[in-house]
């Protein structure tokens, strides 16, 4: 396997061998240089002794020192020359001493030259080794980087690109280059993952498709019989099919009201399914907040009279909001009708809007029984009902808050409740997109 680990290992051994060889030769040559330096040192010492021997009267000490020099001399020719000189010195024969002196001096000059040559050449060699090793190492690093670039960095970059493409939705997960190494393994694993993700996604899409098809069928299958029922009742109630007795009129009236309620329930349920579907779109425009608040209250007139509850608008900023007005109105109506359901007769429900942290907050407060902390979480879920009101005005289905939540979230707002048992509830939701109301619009229109 052409693994990256293997190539790293080879690289490591190569550098190790290079370092060992360079160290070995450097060490060896250094030793030779040191030896040559010692020789030169002993040469200087010998020259001094020789000078002293020639100029000073005979001394045992000089003789002894000369003996020592000879003993330290490893070179046999040199040792012989020194021995001859010592003999001449001890014999006190001036002529012989001069002769031997000259011979030894000649030899010593040659000897010192030789050692100096050794030092010079070995220094050069050490330099060559160090420099050569350095060059080799540089070349090695350069080649290695190029190999890494080809083996690792480019494939990693390539893979990163593929992953980024994948994340941004272009599912080109088919790799052309998967080298037979660790990077290749990574690439293969990613491909498997991508295939799995795509498979799941396709399954989800199919499921989504099936769901919306199902919703369409349900919608059709529920509304078709409701159309017949509502149509028949409407025709009978119109009186065009013949006169009705008061009792029949009353019964037909009940049937009409209930069929309308059933249609509303079906619509609510299908609405919620639609809002929750991914491709839901809003019909947004800039509408004065005031208009939304007032028409919501207006549309609840009937229920308000029936409940005998007071709705008070405490205040609102003069702004326009960029919303699907019908949908935000539906949110308000759902929250207000809940508040009214839970308010005792002659009680009040309050609406207040203000701007806080760059959002419009709309609050609906009631003086009802309040909602326990535990239930505050649950009531925004579908078909979840906590306590039922003492006076059931309209029998609820538990979809009101789910629809409100879905609609507010479709507008990028949030919805929540602040409540305590026995202290009433305050539902609020936010609208992020608003602007100052354009003044003088009415005057232009008028």
């Amino acid at each position: 396997m052409n693994s990256i680990y293997r190539s790293l290992q080879i690289q490591f051994y190569f550098v190790l061998c290079l370092m060992l060889a360079a160290s070995y030769f450097t060490f060896k040559f250094s030793k030779e240089i040191v030896a040559a330096k010692t020789n030169i040192h002993s040469h200087s010492r010998l020259i001094t002794l020789m000078y002293e021997a020639r100029t000073q009267p005979y001394s045992k000490k000089i003789s002894y020192e000369l003996q020592k020099s000879r003993a330290y001399s490893l070179n046999p020719t040199r040792a012989l020359h020194i021995s001859n000189f010592i003999q001449a010195y001890n014999s006190s024969n001036r002529n012989i001493l001069e002769k031997r002196y000259q011979e030894l001096l000649d030899y010593e000059n040659e000897y010192v030259n030789l050692n100096e040559t050794i030092i010079e050449s070995k220094s050069d060699q050490i330099f060559a080794i160090v420099f050569g090793a350095l060059l080799l190492q540089i070349l090695n690093i350069f080649l290695y980087l190029r190999a890494m670039q080809k083996q690792m960095l480019s494939p990693i970059e390539h893979l990163t690109q593929k992953i980024n493409d994948f994340m941004s939705g272009s599912y080109s997960y088919r790799f052309t280059t998967a080298p037979d190494n660790e990077i290749g393994n990574l690439e293969r694993s990613f491909r498997l993952m991508a295939e799995e993700v795509i498979k799941n996604m396709e399954e989800l899409q199919a499921l989504d498709q099936a769901k919306s098809e199902f919703m369409n069928i349900v919608s059709h299958e529920l509304r078709t019989p409701m159309t017949s029922i509502k149509g028949s009742l409407g025709l009978i109630a119109s009186g065009k099919m013949g006169d009705l007795s008061d009792k029949v009129k009353k019964l037909i009236g009940i049937a009409e009201i209930e069929s309308n309620r059933l249609i509303r329930l079906i619509n609510d349920f299908l609405d919620l399914a639609k809002i929750e579907a991914k491709n839901y779109s809003l019909d947004r425009s800039w509408v004065p907040l005031e208009k939304i608040l007032l028409s919501s209250v207006e549309s609840l007139k009937g229920l308000q009279e029936k409940a005998n509850v007071n709705i008070q608008i405490l205040g609102y900023p003069k702004v326009e909001v960029n919303v699907d007005a019908d949908k935000i109105q539906q949110v308000l109506v759902n929250l207000l009708s809940n508040a009214m359901k839970f308010t005792t007769e002659h009680g009040s429900v309050f609406i207040q809007a203000d701007i806080f942290e760059n959002k419009v907050y709309i609050r609906i407060k009631d003086q009802g029984p309040g909602i326990s902390e535990e239930n505050q979480q649950k009531i925004f879920q579908k078909f979840r009902q906590a306590s039922s009101p003492d006076r059931p005005l309209v029998k609820g289905t538990g979809l009101g808050l789910s629809i409100a939540k879905a609609l507010v979230e479709a507008h990028e707002g949030k919805i929540s409740v602040v409540s305590e048992i026995g202290k009433g509830s305050e539902f609020y939701f936010t609208i992020p997109e608003y602007r100052e109301e354009i003044k003088g619009k009415e005057t232009i229109a008028a």
């Binding site: 059709h220 078709t224 159309t227 017949s228 025709l235 779109s281």
Partner: protein, 122 residues
């Protein structure tokens, strides 16, 4: 007015026919699917065609496309469908229909609704 009504559900077509005849004083021909509607308009002229969206053989949208694009019919077409979402309303408009009646409809209002659509559409 002479009206052609294409609707597969027999109950709804009965109610619609009675509504149009009794409340609107129109003359109504009922067919049960899109293909029959296409055949019928080639045989006779109508003042208005009402198409149900979902029908067997040929659905309302396909029928409308055939009538407007293939046969170049001038007769006004109104859709009637339980699919009340914006996209199918728009699809109907794009195919040349002039209006949309949502199901379930109120028979006491349908004739006024049709008149309004015809006024606006012409």
């Amino acid at each position: 007015m002479k009206i052609l009504l294409a609707e597969d559900d027999i109950n709804i077509s009965t109610i619609m026919a009675i509504t149009l005849e009794q409340i609107g004083n129109h003359q109504v021909t009922v067919v049960e699917d899109g293909l029959a509607a296409v055949e019928q308009v080639q045989r006779q002229d109508y003042d208005l065609i009402i198409l149900d969206g979902m029908m067997p053989k040929l659905d309302g949208f396909e029928t409308c496309r055939k009538m407007k694009t293939d046969l170049h019919l001038k007769m006004p077409i109104i859709f009637m469908s339980a699919k009340s979402d914006e996209s199918s309303k728009k699809a109907g408009k794009d195919l040349g229909a002039i209006g949309y009646i949502e199901k379930p409809f109120d028979p006491n209002l349908v004739c006024e609704q049709i008149e309004k659509i015809l006024e606006e559409g012409m």
